[in-house]
């Protein structure tokens, strides 16, 4: 049997991006305030026993979970943006569009104001918040209208706008140090994470990623509109509803650990589409690998750029991503 046509491209793209991801992760393991070198990190990863046990502990217990969380968040937000842009056929769609950002932020802020622990307390409340808004939106557009993308988009925008007002209200009431925590959560932050958290998150996300990869070809067909997709044998309603709910669930799970990292979900799909073309069978793995690479690198910069402490990684994602995207868009104008 001859190999499928898309397989070669898929393998090459995945292989290159996987190498980049591994390199970025190595960099992520070596960067930090303890100032370790890249060679020492490589030795630690390779299992050479002559390295300093404190450094080994920092690498394995502190940096590795953080690097893995950054990778998972980058992957989920990018692939989430890709799915929403395809389903809504709207280039401005991003993974938070179904009220996820507003709902999870309200949950998290309430958690911070109540003074519960970051994990599982704040995370759980954020997750509950975003699931509640998702449910609300699905109820608002229930029945046939779920396939009408305008009503879906508008409902999401309205719910997020309402949530933004509630967030502003809660922020305006807060004056002590909790305000700082709230702002960091709203901008996205990887500093509060342990290995258990990352393992749970990873196990939650994996089935979703596989499902999205499975639906890559129907997503291609949906780009031409739901009638055409249906006339080529796609079960439009099943595909749309499954993808919307799976993706929203994955994104909710992710942001409840990392806070509201903006921009990655909007721009990574565009960036990779510019470089690799619009075929989702290639773009889904590319967004997973490319998005995680990008986020790991942004986190490295967030840790090493400030002389004292660290920046919220959400500041870096847009500060680098926006000019990079504009540059690529200008140079690839054909």
């Amino acid at each position: 049997m001859k190999p499928p046509l898309v397989l070669k491209r898929l393998m090459i793209v995945s292989f290159v991006l996987l190498l980049l991801l591994l390199a970025a992760m190595l960099l992520g393991l070596s960067a930090g305030s303890t100032g370790s070198s890249l060679t020492a990190t490589i030795q630690a990863v390779w299992g050479k026993n002559e390295i300093d046990p404190t450094l080994a502990a920092i690498i394995w217990r502190i940096r590795l979970p953080r690097v893995l969380l950054a990778a998972l968040v980058g992957a989920t937000l990018s692939v989430g943006g890709l799915v929403f842009q395809a389903l809504l056929r709207n280039p401005l769609a991003e993974p938070y569009i179904l009220g996820i950002s507003g709902g999870s932020a309200i949950g998290a802020i309430i958690g911070i104001l109540l003074g519960v622990s970051p994990f599982p307390g704040v995370s759980l409340l954020a997750f509950i918040g975003s699931m509640a808004t998702l449910l609300l939106i699905l109820m608002m557009v229930s029945g046939q209208t779920i396939l009408k993308r305008e009503s879906l988009l508008l409902s999401g925008v309205m719910v997020n706008a309402f949530c933004a007002a509630v967030i502003m209200f809660l922020v305006s009431l807060t004056q002590d140090s909790r305000l700082h925590n709230i702002i960091f959560w709203l901008m996205g932050d990887f500093s509060m994470v342990d290995a258990r958290q990352v393992a749970i998150l990873g196990a939650t996300l994996l089935p979703g990623m596989i499902l999205i990869f499975w639906f890559a070809h129907p997503m291609n067909l949906l780009l031409a509109g739901k009638e055409q997709a249906q006339s080529m044998g796609v079960h439009v309603k099943a595909v749309t509803v499954t993808l919307l709910i799976t993706t929203s669930f994955m994104v909710s799970a992710t942001v409840s650990h990392s806070g509201l990292l903006g921009f990655v979900g909007l721009v990574m799909p565009h960036l990779l589409r510019l470089l690799l073309g619009p075929d989702h069978r290639v773009l889904v793995p590319a967004c997973i690998l490319g998005g995680s690479t990008y986020m790991v690198l942004c986190d490295v910069l967030a840790r090493i750029l400030p002389e004292q402490g660290e920046m919220p990684v959400g500041v870096i994602t847009a500060m680098i991503g926006a000019p990079l995207f504009i540059f690529l868009m200008k140079t690839s104008k054909r």
């Binding site: 001859k2 499928p4 070809h217 291609n220 780009l223 009638e227 080529m232 796609v234 069978r281």
Partner: protein, 268 residues
């Protein structure tokens, strides 16, 4: 000859507004069948019902003596292909990629095409004479070229029936005739049943073996162009003065519009 499409007492409405009432007819295999009628007569709705994009409120529809609803999704897509009006795709796929999408009802779960599928796509591209466009992006093409690409995609689906919703609307003369010749070639060479909605009565008269005239959701007449295109029926349905004569290039009726200034003025 076997019956490709059999429609039995179909009714449909949008809300309280009836769009199709008591529609019954059948289309033979290998027929070139064109549906005409004024705006809002229910042509497109009828087409979408045959394509299973809309479920009629009442009535039965069979394809090759098998009820429409008994077809699994992919089997139906291997039987009927639908070429929409003004097909568009804003994402930068190439022509070959779009035509290949027509293979999807023949593919497995992941939708990965094999070399054979590419071969079929290339033949469909050759059939529609779009080889020179194969590597271009769809959004760089003109309306007529785009329409031929979507016809190639429909051919690539290897269906027994192709439905087209006003494929020549807003195209220039050369593209209009090219599309119609293409459909005639498909019918003649591959015995594919062609069902088309058209606004252009004269174009329809030149190609259709049978014409269906719809008005306000009801069938007015069904028959050969000679039978359907009588000025009495048409003037009544369209509500304007018409003159029907015979086309100088063949033995089919030609419908001429009569401007108001050429109408005889009634004596005062």
């Amino acid at each position: 000859m076997t019956t490709a499409i059999d429609i039995n007492k179909i009714d449909h409405s949008y809300g309280d507004f009836p769009v199709l009432q008591d529609i019954s007819f059948s289309i033979e295999t290998g027929d070139f069948f064109i549906v005409i009628g004024p705006n809002g007569s229910g042509k497109t709705t009828l087409m979408k019902i045959i394509a299973n994009l809309i479920k009629p409120l009442q009535g039965r529809l069979t394809l090759f003596d098998r009820p429409l609803e008994s077809y699994p999704r992919k089997a139906l897509a291997r039987t009927v292909a639908f070429v929409p009006q003004m097909a568009a795709l804003d994402f930068p796929f190439t022509v070959t990629e779009i035509v290949l999408m027509g293979r999807s009802p023949h593919l497995g779960l992941l939708g990965w095409e094999q070399a054979d599928d590419l071969e079929i796509a290339k033949r469909a591209i050759a059939f529609t004479e779009t080889e020179h466009l194969a590597h271009r992006k769809l959004n760089q093409l003109s309306g007529g070229e785009r329409q031929r690409v979507f016809i190639a995609r429909a051919i690539c689906q290897e269906p027994q029936i192709i439905l087209l919703d006003e494929p020549t609307a807003s195209l220039d003369l050369a593209h209009q005739i090219k599309i119609m010749d293409l459909m005639e070639k498909l019918r003649a060479e591959k015995n594919i049943t062609i069902v088309m909605v058209s606004h252009d009565i004269n174009l329809a008269a030149m190609y259709a073996q049978r014409l269906l005239l719809l008005s306000r959701g009801r069938i007015v007449t069904l028959g050969s162009p000679q039978e359907v295109l009588s000025y009495k029926i048409l003037e009544d349905v369209y509500g304007c003065t018409l003159l029907v004569d015979e086309s100088p290039i063949g033995r089919f009726p030609r419908v001429n519009l009569v401007p108001k200034k050429f109408l005889p003025t009634p004596d005062p």
